[in-house]
Symmetry: C2
């Protein structure tokens, strides 16, 4: 159990065509760690302000998430505001307030630095790089990012990417990063930049895992009522990496199963606002949905 | 072997960001019948003008397509002009010239009318209805359409839809027809309109087969070089229906395999302009790609 997740812990303001909600607990690290916690006991690295709810910290502990790498700083937590249109696949970032994340340099507990398995969830590439530098011998590194950093911090991002084994992105990010319209060509170009695997998250269309030797495709779970798509991608990464950490084997078979568990966890995340759905989620539901995914594509 | 395919036979003008091609043989019936011909011997119904190439007619015969329902009329063949952007999933209809299709009322050979299996490919709904009325006892009817008819000939379209077992559409058409944004809700609404099955074609994201008891998802074949996406949907329908006609069984297992063969045939269609790819296509390639689809999703 040595998965370290580095990323944001945040308050989100989310506007959907139906309603507007403020002060929802979110962030890439939050979603990822919670999704991973159904498989492993991730160690998290991040920072929260004085306003971050004790209840969420208690929930992390209940889920056996190791929070020794979580810093409690003076000031306000990171804040993201986003708006979804009628099509939940499209969202606009309305506001981004770094708050305590501005200038954050984490203090890593010594045993964190020996972790074999590191996930650099979406944060500033320079911070991802700084943290990666402080790990002694990570065997397997995954990263995620957003368009904003591809456009504005490309060089730092490429330095981190070069040292990664797996890159999580969505279609738009893959195309922006490579200036390729065809997704498979884009994937190949990304692999030339470093990682041996590219996981392309496609929202309601599922995800593709592109590797040097082939492609694996996983669907999204048929969902009639998407409440809040925020965190789906981070939950995908959490299920994916948490599963791999649990089985402690990275081979084609397990990577495929990991991707399905990623899609399973994403499908739960969107069923309620923020992390609400995880609060009632049972292991048996995860297992059942995994089996539903098998039925969805078997022929 | 009793599949009848009714639809257009046309000249297409196709513009992609790379090139413009005129006088490409296309049409919904053309693509569908050719794709189906790798599984069955479809009987076609349609009309061509004096300009339609003898070479294509000879190719139909070579592929054992029954052309006794094909009318040779005075005048010019149906003409469609479309433009694709950098994203091959988006196309614009630039021009539509009905020519010999205007006022076409087919003469059906008597044995056609006894066919058990009828596909009303995309043409004017009134024509689809007229033809459907003349079949004696079709056991299984499938149909396709486009936005244009949903907007302008809705009532006739709904009358045909009511009598169908399977409705082929793309995401946009499903949403336009039902005014639903969620695809699964849209599918359910369409089923309330008549058909027990809805096949939603999603281009590079594959297809979903929605039924009253569940969902089956098939991916698109990973394609690095889409030459011409025209006819992919009709080839999907052709592979799907041709396979069902060949196995002469419509149950869940065969419907799933039919959808995969649909996706297989669509994946070949886009590898070259017009029907070119079908001219060199071998059965062994179809079988191999079917197996590749298995590997693509197995976990």
């Amino acid at each position: 159990m040595t998965l370290v997740v580095v990323g944001s812990l945040a308050f989100d303001t989310i506007e959907t065509p139906e309603e507007r909600r403020e002060g929802i607990v979110g962030g890439s690290c939050t979603y990822c760690a919670l999704a991973a916690s159904y498989f492993a006991s991730p160690m998290i690295v991040g920072v929260v302000g004085e306003d971050f709810p004790q209840e969420t910290i208690a929930f992390f502990k209940e889920r056996k998430i190791d929070i020794r790498g979580l810093e409690f700083a003076k000031g306000k937590s990171f804040h993201w505001e986003g708006r979804y249109g009628h099509d939940p696949n499209h969202r606009t970032t309305v506001k981004l307030e770094m708050n305590v994340f501005a200038g954050f340099r984490p203090h890593l507990p010594p045993d964190y630095k020996q972790a074999e398995f590191l996930f650099l969830a979406n944060i500033e590439p320079e911070l991802q790089e700084d943290i990666l530098n402080r790990f002694e011998n990570p065997k397997w590194v995954a990263m995620d990012t957003i368009n904003h950093w591809i456009k504005n911090n490309r060089e730092a991002l490429l330095r981190v990417l070069k040292r990664c084994n797996l890159f999580f992105c969505n279609e738009e990010e893959a195309k922006l990063l490579t200036e390729e319209i065809n997704l498979f060509k884009a994937g190949r170009k990304i692999m030339e930049m470093g990682p041996g695997l590219v996981a392309v998250k496609k929202g309601e269309h599922g995800a593709l895992i592109l590797g040097k030797d082939g492609v694996f495709g996983v669907l999204a779970h048929p969902c009639e009522e998407v409440i809040d798509p925020t965190g789906a991608g981070d939950s995908f990464a959490g299920g994916f990496l948490g599963y791999l950490d649990a089985v402690r084997q990275i081979n084609e078979k397990e990577l495929r199963r990991a991707a399905v568990y990623g899609s399973v966890m994403a499908s739960f995340a969107i069923e309620d606002f923020g992390i609400e759905r995880f609060k009632s989620l049972k292991r048996s539901e995860i297992k059942n949905r995994f089996l539903e995914f098998k039925k969805l594509v078997s022929f």
